[in-house]
């Protein structure tokens, strides 16, 4: 087929050498996304065919430190040997060449006489090996295997980086959960205590609200929840704050029913409301109003949390969004980062504020995003 169509490929596609480079780069680019998932039997199985294309040898194996993850090529009866051969590199730490003395073979027709083994190194630690089986290992092949192993290692390090970024995000969500401020707990319990004698029934209801609120915040929840769940938790929070502030805290809630099933990152609104209550009330005399709006906008849901409090220096907000933790705004940067991770950079927080002008935080959430569901 390829030969029959050769007349379709004029010379401007490049010289032989250039085309070889293109083919190599193409194989490499096919392998990279697979390896970015880390070194598992699944990713190794999908990547190994392209690795054999790169090396041009009869058989290739990928192992971790103890087991064979994938094998591609002829003479599959040597697949079990790969795990044992991996042990050699763990000791030496560099590329080695071994022959039939290390992988015995009774099959006379077997063409695998030598093997080049190169370690896969992630952060100075050997995590596996790349093994190229051949009839006779040339110096060129040894060099090629070493380079390919180094390239694979680079991709595995990127995978490690992805994984640690995800772990960091998870840790931040855990931190947010634990971040229910001690003040809030102390103040809530104080407010409840004040009702115990005068209005025991109300005190009981508030305690139940408190229990439900903490259960939601500490629950082992997936990464996403529905807007309805998130608003329910905010309701409880505000009931508790109202018990403390009484009529000083005014709340307006305007929610389009259509957007209640939208998936949002867990605890992404709670910190914004907490900020609004604090900024709208705590440092200011008289009443404060918190307005929460969730509106339906075709494919998106538009949520805004607004207070009429003392406002904030825009520069400080910018630093908070950039991740400066010295700024006193609970989790603003965290919420922003998680929204961007979930929905892309178009969906970061928008904060409108100025000293003395109140604060309005706007969150846009798409109704559907690939990979985001409750």
């Amino acid at each position: 087929m390829r030969d029959a169509l050769r007349w379709l490929r004029p010379g401007h596609l490049g010289t032989e050498a250039e085309q070889a480079t293109f083919r190599t780069l193409h194989s490499a680019s096919l392998t990279a996304p697979e390896l970015r998932e880390g070194l598992t039997s699944g990713s190794a199985g999908r990547a190994i065919r392209h690795l054999r294309d790169l090396l041009g040898v009869p058989a290739v194996a990928l192992t971790d430190t103890v087991t064979t993850l994938a094998w591609d090529g002829r003479f599959g009866h040597h697949e079990p040997d790969a795990a044992a051969l991996a042990g050699i590199v763990l000791e030496s730490g560099g590329t080695v060449v071994r022959d039939r003395r290390d992988f015995a073979c009774s099959d006379a027709g077997c063409g695998l006489r030598q093997v080049v083994i190169s370690p896969l190194v992630v952060e100075d630690r050997v995590v596996g090996t790349l093994q190229a089986f051949t009839s006779s290992a040339s110096a060129g092949l040894v060099r090629a295997v070493t380079e390919v192993a180094r390239w694979v290692s680079g991709n595995l390090e990127l995978a490690e980086l992805d994984a640690s970024r995800t772990r960091l995000m998870e840790a931040e969500v855990r931190a947010l959960r634990a971040q229910i401020s001690p003040h809030f707990i102390y103040n809530s319990l104080g407010a409840i205590a004040s009702f115990v004698r005068t209005d025991p029934e109300r005190a009981r209801e508030l305690l139940l609200e408190f229990a439900d609120f903490t259960r939601y915040s500490f629950s082992h929840h997936g990464e996403y929840t529905t807007l309805a769940e998130e608003l329910r938790s905010i309701e409880r929070y505000l009931v508790l704050e109202k018990a403390r502030f009484g009529d000083r805290l005014q709340v307006t809630l305007r929610v389009a029913q259509e957007v209640l099933p939208v998936a949002v990152p867990f605890l992404c609104l709670q910190p914004l409301v907490e900020n609004a209550v604090r900024h709208g009330l705590e440092r200011k005399p008289g009443t404060g109003t918190v307005t929460i709006i969730a509106a339906d906008q075709a494919g998106e849901c538009l949520i805004s949390v607004e207070d009429d409090g003392i406002g904030e220096d825009p520069e400080k907000v910018r630093r908070a969004l950039a991740g400066d933790i010295s700024v006193d705004s609970v989790g603003l940067g965290n919420v922003d980062a998680r929204l961007r991770t979930a929905f892309g950079d178009d969906y970061g927080l928008v904060v409108e504020t100025a000293p003395g002008a109140g604060t309005k935080v706007i969150v846009r959430v798409p109704k559907f995003a690939p990979g985001v569901h409750t």
């Binding site: 997936g222 990464e223 996403y224 529905t226 309805a228 769940e229 608003l231 329910r232 309701e235 505000l238 009931v239 005014q250 709340v251 307006t252 809630l253 305007r254 929610v255 389009a256 029913q257 259509e258 209640l260 099933p261 998936a263 509106a295 339906d296 906008q297 075709a298 494919g299 178009d346 109704k367 559907f368 690939p370 990979g371 985001v372 569901h373 409750t374």
Partner: protein
């Protein structure tokens, strides 16, 4: 005041009410500082009324009665099919579609097949179906206004298009559940109330059967499939297939399912929709039957689709008849406006998200999308004439059944579907059905069998699309999406079941 005067007042009232609701629409989203209302999701009953309000279009309101008047009981397959489509939706699609988390059909295609190419093709098809469905709404509006006030045939369409566009551009990017639900009950009232008077008169006249007054002797009004032409059986089956399977591919219907909190609620909603539509579709055929007795001249003049609008004033003398005619006219305009708004929002959403979003962004993209979504079908409506409202909507159903029905049914129930298979199936189904639609709309269709095959393509294009999708999927079995098993679990496991639904990598 004359009959035309009442109609003008009624249409103006509907238009003003629609614009006012658009401008102050946010008041209808629950506004309260009493918190516990906030977490209440839309109830299935309300959601079903909203679906009914958006779904019952010009074809249902005017077209069915006209078809029954002209062609007899055989045409009852249209209302039956438009209702039964929800039965298929209920059994095969409703709950898994909701559980997929998809808001639009392209969303479903992308999340199920993990392919941007399938998404883009789906988006194109959604726009095509939306246009095809919007066009007869505008034509119907022109017809209705011409019949009641004697204006030119284009004015009604331009009026509806303008109102919808103004509403979407300045009112915001939403279609409010409460308002659409109200539209259903308005349409039902607008047909039911005059009918009570008219049936009373008919009974007073002795309750003569419509079938007994054939304008031509020996015609086949009451007996299906007795007419001339041997393609009749094929045509009937094709209508059945298109209407049963097309409903699930309508963009404005699918969008409404997102509002349900979970799969079970989606099923309950669909059940309510079946009941509401079943109730509504009892009425138009009665208009058709009575029209045969009291307005037989419409058959001769070819204006059968205006029977709903004219019948009340013909059967009831004086002001009462004129008022009731004005009521049905108002109901018809409510039908045009609600269906057009729902479709425009759905189509504009897809255009802005998959076409213009990157360049314009946000609200601007949506508004540009809305302009495109309305102007193209309006132009088509003004250019093409002579295709009945019900038939044009029928073609939209055939097109939807040939493209999205295979995608949804196989996507939900067959784990070996591949992106290549889906694309091939939708291209073949959409290509064949699309060619048939264009030939019919331009009036190029030949007579006899080829004409029947083109006028009602569903009976051959739907199986063809299914076969292509299955065949190409089997041939490209290496391309089965990586996370198919996980997606399937998520689509089919009830939400109450505790299990790891997994977070798909981006």
């Amino acid at each position: 005041m004359s009959a035309a005067g009442y109609s003008v007042v009624a249409v103006t009232a509907v238009v003003v009410a629609t614009l006012a609701v658009g401008a102050y629409g946010w008041r209808f989203s629950r506004t309260t500082s009493d918190f516990f209302v906030a977490s209440r999701t839309v109830r299935p009953g309300l959601n079903a009324s909203a679906i009914g309000g958006e779904y019952l279009s010009a074809a249902s309101f005017l077209g069915v009665a006209g078809l029954v008047l002209a062609f007899g009981t055989e045409m009852l397959w249209y209302p039956v099919g438009w209702t039964a489509g929800y039965l298929v939706l209920l059994v095969l699609v409703a709950a898994p579609l909701r559980r997929s988390g998809a808001y639009t059909l392209p969303d479903f295609a992308e999340s199920r097949l993990e392919s941007r190419a399938v998404r883009r093709l789906s988006a194109l098809l959604v726009v095509a179906i939306g246009w095809l469905y919007l066009m007869p709404q505008f034509q119907g509006a022109g017809l209705a206004l011409a019949a009641t006030t004697g204006t030119g045939p284009w004015l009604g369409g331009v009026l509806v298009a303008t109102v919808v566009l103004v509403n979407v551009l300045f009112g915001g990017m939403r279609s409010i559940t409460f308002v659409q639900a109200f539209q259903y009950w308005l349409k039902l009232t607008a047909l039911l109330f005059p009918l009570l008077f008219m049936v009373t008169i008919w009974l007073g006249d002795g309750g003569v059967s419509p079938a007994s007054t054939g304008t031509t002797p020996g015609d086949s009004w009451e007996s299906p499939l007795a007419g001339t032409g041997d393609q009749q059986l094929y045509t009937t089956y094709s209508i059945i297939l298109a209407t049963f399977l097309g409903t699930m591919g309508l963009p404005h219907v699918v969008v409404r399912f997102y509002t349900n909190p979970d799969g079970a609620a989606a099923r309950r909603t669909t059940l309510f929709v079946l009941a509401l539509l079943g109730l509504f579709y009892l009425l138009p055929p009665v208009y058709g039957g009575l029209g045969r007795l009291y307005a037989p001249d419409l058959i001769a003049s070819g204006d059968t689709e205006s029977v709903v609008l004219e019948l009340p004033s013909r059967m009831l003398a004086g002001t009462l008849g004129e008022l009731l005619s004005a009521l049905t006219t108002a109901g018809a305009f409510a039908a045009f406006l609600s269906t057009s708004s729902g479709l425009t929002v759905a189509v504009a959403g897809v255009i802005s998200q998959d076409g213009l979003g990157r360049r314009l962004g946000g609200v601007r993209a949506f508004q540009a999308g809305a302009v495109v979504a309305v102007l193209v079908p309006l132009g088509l409506a003004l250019l093409t004439e002579g295709v009945g409202v019900a038939q044009a909507v029928g073609l939209a159903f055939a097109f939807a059944a040939s493209t999205f029905c295979p995608l949804l049914v196989l996507g939900i129930w067959w784990r070996r579907l591949t992106d290549a298979g889906a694309i091939a199936g939708m291209l073949v189904g959409g290509g064949c059905a699309g060619a048939a639609v264009i030939a019919t709309l331009l009036g190029m269709a030949p007579t006899g069998w080829p004409g029947a095959l083109l006028a009602q393509p569903a009976a051959w294009t739907v199986p063809l699309a299914f076969l292509t999708m299955v065949g190409v999927s089997l041939a490209t079995s290496r391309r089965v999406p990586r996370h198919t098993a996980r997606t399937m679990v998520r689509l089919h496991a009830p939400e109450a079941v505790q299990l790891d639904r997994g977070i798909l990598p981006r």
